[in-house]
């Protein structure tokens, strides 16, 4: 590989990892803002979103530059294509973190309500999926990526159950309708964050193995030896 290509690929890798770190931090801050009713963290997430948006544009431009100047093939090509897709997923995750921060801001302005235990569990699952998806990207770990894909169903199921939980809560506490709706919205944002972590995991499998496993019901299963 030419030194020029190596340098440009490494640059994309470092930028993407830095962006991944920012997105992970934004999600963590948004959730903490919600649980701790912390307006400072809400502001930090919303301000950080602009930085992430700019990073997304920079990374997309650098990926295009690599494609145009070096015309990479094989693993280098898969890496650049995967980076472009991961870049898009990370930016969407940052948007969702900002949505959670928005919900937190509304909730801070309302009377405190207890956060459903399932939602706490769901935040832990989604955060772990985000962290692991980035680790699988860094370490080019397709086995971990496949495991993440399998976890998504659990988050989806928890989100489905959240509807019932919120309905029950509203029936018992009709005066907290607004709060409950915001909580349900947070659940929805977390479920979508987990979907994007799943996308990243699928992109890691593509990058490592060259197989496109999107839209496959058995995507999380290991390929036959």
């Amino acid at each position: 590989m030419s030194m020029h290509l190596f340098r440009d690929l490494e640059n994309v890798r470092q930028e993407l990892l830095a962006m991944g770190g920012l997105v992970e931090e934004a999600i963590n801050k948004a959730i903490t803002a919600l649980v701790n009713r912390d307006e400072t963290l809400v502001a930090a997430v919303l301000e950080g979103e602009e930085v992430i948006d700019q990073k997304e544009v920079d990374i997309a431009e650098n990926c295009l530059k690599v494609l145009a100047l070096h015309q990479p093939v094989a693993s280098d090509l898969r890496f650049v294509v995967a980076c472009m897709m991961v870049n898009n997923d990370l930016e969407r995750m940052a948007d969702l973190a900002a949505n959670i921060a928005d919900r937190a801001r509304f909730l801070i302005g309302l009377a405190p309500i207890s956060i459903p235990e399932d939602l706490i569990g769901m935040t832990a699952m989604a955060r772990k999926m985000v962290k692991d998806s980035l680790d699988s990207l860094v370490n080019e770990d397709a086995a971990l990526a496949r495991e993440i894909i399998q976890r998504d169903e659990e988050v989806d199921e928890t989100h489905r159950l959240m509807y019932q939980t919120v309905q029950d809560h509203i029936r018992q506490n009709p005066d907290t309708l607004d709060e409950a709706v915001h909580i349900l919205s947070v659940s929805r944002q977390l479920e979508r964050i987990a979907d994007h972590a799943t996308n990243i995991a699928e992109e890691v499998v593509f990058m490592v193995e060259g197989q496109i496993i999107r839209h496959q019901s058995d995507a999380g299963e290991m390929p036959p030896k």
């Binding site: 030419s2 990479p72 093939v73 094989a74 280098d76 090509l77 060259g210």
Partner: protein, 277 residues
Amino acid sequence: MISPAEISSPGRVVTTGLADGVPAGGAEAHVRADSFWVYYHGKAAVSDVTLSIPSGQVTSIIGPSGCGKSTFLRAINRMNDLIPGATTDGGLYYDGHHVYGEDVDVTVLRKRVGMVFQKPNPFPKSIYDNIAYGPRIHGIRDRSTLDGIVEKSLHRAALWNEAKDRLDDNALGLSGGQQQRLCIARALAVDPEILLMDEPTSALDPKSTARIEDLIGEFRGRYTIIIVTHNMQQAARVSDLTAFLYEGYLVEFGETEQVFTRPREKQTEDYVTGRFG
């Protein structure tokens, strides 16, 4: 025509990790090498190559300098016979006939298996005589028949419009790109079935290169094309199948799209990504 699944079937991978290149399911192989070797003064330049090149498709042979790709190409129409000390072993078949069989008429073989070289090499004759040269050798004397062959060949090589008003001009007056298309027309004039191309665009500018690549695309289905190229983007652009040779051995043979996006062998991966070679 062989299907991608038949080529890329994991079951077809043999000891060196390469596809053995034998089309499955009775697919038609136009050229087939079976443990084929070429030696120069006893030193192997092509080693134990087994592959089948299907009819009507474009097959690229890639690999670093000295890997044996041009030697393999030249073996197919016995151009290596002209090199002192060149010997072969194993099987090399064309339409099922052994290329190195005792009963092979090399002139007839080269009529059916045409060749285009790296550097355009027109004869120092008129454009017309360059094209008519081969048919005349094969006994065609009738002027109107030769006229028809010249026009058809120049049309197929996309040179007719540029050459039709100067057929009696010396071919050496053509530009490099035109000379190469003339050489292609000359090869087509004897109505070959296979066209061997040994780095046919490496001496040409990008525009002339694009015209030759377009021609290769138009020839698909009509001729079986085997092209040796150092330009991997060219191999990726023009060919249906790609064979990677390294130090005389066939490392990998498969669909071009697969070889350039998901090579099976690490050596192929390292070569196409420029990590060695």
